[in-house]
Amino acid sequence: MRLPFFHRAATFEHGIHPVYHKETGALPIRRFPFAPKLIVPLSQHIGKPALCCVSVGQEVLRGEVIATADGTMSLPVHAPATGVVEAIGLMPAANGKMVESVTIRVYEADGQEVRVSAPRDIEAMDKEELLAAIQQTGISGLGGATFPAHVKLNPPADAVIDTLVVNGAECEPFLTCDHRVMVERTQDLIRGIRIAMKVSGAPRTVIGVEDNKPDAIAAIRAALPADGSITVQALETKYPQGAEDTIIYALLGREIPAGQRPASIGVLVNNVMTLAYLGRLLPAGEGMVERVLTVAGPAVKKPGNYIVPIGTPLRFVLEQAGARSSAKEIILGGPMMGMTVSSLDVPVTKGTSGVLAFAESTVEAQRTYACIKCGECVNVCPKFLNPSQLGLLAAKREYELMAEQFNLDRCFECGCCSYVCPSHIPLVQQFRIAKAVNREKAAA
């Protein structure tokens, strides 16, 4: 229960308090060396894949465009290193699918400075020019959603945006890359926010940061402009504080109507890393060639936050961070919503916020019982669904009933229900299956 008088940090109702393991939050960002080969997928964003504009055997410079955007819902791809194109073709991506990718053999002797740059005067640019420039940076949502930044910052014409929400919650356990970026790249972040405000027309910005990152809150507060248009607000440390619905509710007290986007209530949400990269790359006229990500987990000897070139194979990432031979489960993203990979030959992409290595699964060892109707899942679901009821229906394969009467489609798969279930029923996993079956039925 929430007691308003004992509660200073903003938050939402329900949710869980997993063990956070944010030890890497105190370590400065370090740079990774280049892997001998980089595998650069041409589809690292939601939308149409980019069109390749290089050929096998061609030399490419770090920062050079190697694939161009194919329409509005697409992003260009930049060469993450200077080298030679060794292959162009289908390569396995993290989700197991085959994706058109450019393989670059990196020139080891090269200094790997970004040579392509044309600084811009962002003050002089209008909205359309800024949008085009944002698309050219190739930035997609760096929190993991990989929605093209220029599309997200350009809401429908009928929506009036009054607030830009900057998501610095970073509520997933282990991940600390957003945290470090807020501490070390505060100026980039503020610059990115300025650009985002100009493009979206939002007159004010609220930055939400969980209260387990006091140094990030302090760093941002010290860099805020005097005009008061940008504020920072401490959020309670709780999962899934960083989901769009929950962070908007926590900061502004507004609920996104079911099935609608934040723009319908005058809000845009952007992740801090996305805006920090925007503030860094756009004025410099550069493209996205690398990103900060967290490498951590019990099976990593040197956990930390690293700048990793896009396309670096996970095997190389884990070698550099000293993965133990006991590492068995490799997760991209956080442990609550991230996905496991079947191969270490898949590359880091723009959406990779973390690479976590676990020696053994806590999930698998547990015995599953029947639902004892303890109601814990109902008490934690941030969407106020009834996972217990949904789970009982899923066991009977009543997938349509789940959607029609129990709001299955409102579930955004945060996994709180599976986390708390004392019977260890894979609730959210069942819901994903149910949603997929319903989608297939609807498409048929």
Partner: protein, 345 residues
């Protein structure tokens, strides 16, 4: 390196069915100990025999249905202890065996085991023996009799399928003078004498093995609630609604109806509110539903006590609440995030 593939979440909490149930068992131990201290060997034997019967029945039915053993989820242990606590301390052991068997076989296994049962198994067992052995289940013995640790109450050792002997002579022999053989509720109902709140709180009264010390039950319940092994809202709702109903009646006719404190502290209300109504499998899961469920149990308990033919009402009130649970859950689904009616402006 072989990679494990699994979908998120990749972390789970340390809560588990075994852990919850184990803590419920732990929290029941002080109540058992108090009961044994009060009633001696007979109560001890009853608790052990009933619990053993429940475990054995569960195991036999597991085997009969070809399942793996479910004993290590601790739920059968809870049912056994709770059932034992609801019976009179000198209840014939063979009848305790019947109660335990019915609780597990009809109350639980028939529905499909843990989580699928509609009614609290312990109460099903208790309801059965209440109907089958009406005399034995209303035969009470005095607490703190001198020889309680050296000899059994004669009824305890009644031969199977036999009716227990009359114990009036035995009670006299124990040197207990003023023993009437009536519980505080019965004395109120039939003689209009209410026990003192102090006696009820501390539990120095004639009653079932585990429904004596209200304060001890409350403390054990507090532990469970604090550790989140129990939904605190259920006992609060049950006790509050029972107290409110009793208070209304007392306002109407203070000479006829007892004080709310008497209603709260006497009989099985405390044990029922804290340990029976809160049975997870048979209580609602929705936050609003839990309040309604608790309120129904509280009101119905008082109604049965005041107007029913029985002195006690908690058991039937909870069974009624259990029956209503699916219905309550159905009509108290939480309001889904994002569906708040927007103010028309």
């Amino acid at each position: 390196m072989s990679m494990e593939l699994r979908t998120s979440p990749h972390l789970i909490s340390d809560r588990s069915v075994e852990r919850i149930m184990k803590h419920v068992v732990l929290s029941l131990l002080p109540i058992c100990a108090f009961s044994v201290w009060q009633y001696g060997l007979s109560a001890l034997a009853l608790l052990l025999v009933v619990t053993a019967t429940c475990l054995l029945t569960e195991r036999l039915l597991n085997r009969a249905s070809g399942q793996a053993s479910t004993l290590n989820d601790w739920s059968a242990t809870i049912t056994g202890i709770l059932l034992g606590l609801t019976l009179p301390p000198a209840f014939p052991l063979w009848m305790g065996v019947v109660a335990g068997f019915v609780a597990m076989a009809i109350g639980k296994a028939l529905f499909g085991g843990l989580g699928n049962n509609v009614f609290n198994p312990a109460l099903i067992g208790r309801a059965f023996v209440q109907a089958a052995f009406p005399v034995a289940i209303t035969t009470w013995v005095p607490a703190f009799s001198a020889q309680r640790f050296s000899e059994f109450v004669p009824t305890t050792l009644t031969a199977p399928l036999m009716m227990p002997p009359d114990i009036v002579g035995w009670v006299k022999q124990q040197g207990v003078d003023a023993f009437t053989g009536a519980t505080p509720l019965a004395r109120w109902k039939f003689e209009n004498v209410t026990a003192s709140a102090h006696d009820l709180l501390t539990g120095v009264v004639t009653a079932s093995a585990g429904e004596t010390s209200a304060i001890l039950i409350l403390l054990c319940g507090l532990y469970l609630a604090a550790r989140k092994f129990m939904d605190w809202r259920i006992p609060v709702a049950v006790l509050a609604s029972a107290a409110f109903t009793a208070w209304m009646f007392q306002l109407y006719d203070p000479t006829h109806y007892p004080a709310p404190t008497f209603v709260l502290l006497s009989g099985g209300l405390m044990l029922g509110a804290v340990y029976m109504a809160t049975d997870m499998a048979t209580s609602p899961v929705t936050p609003v539903g839990v309040w309604i469920y608790g309120a129904v149990i509280g009101v119905v308990t008082v109604m049965i006590r005041y107007f029913g033919g029985l002195t006690e009402g908690v058991m039937y009130a909870i069974l009624l609440g259990n029956a209503l649970t699916p219905f309550i859950d159905r009509y108290t689904q939480p309001r889904v995030f994002g569906t708040r009616q927007r103010r028309k402006s």
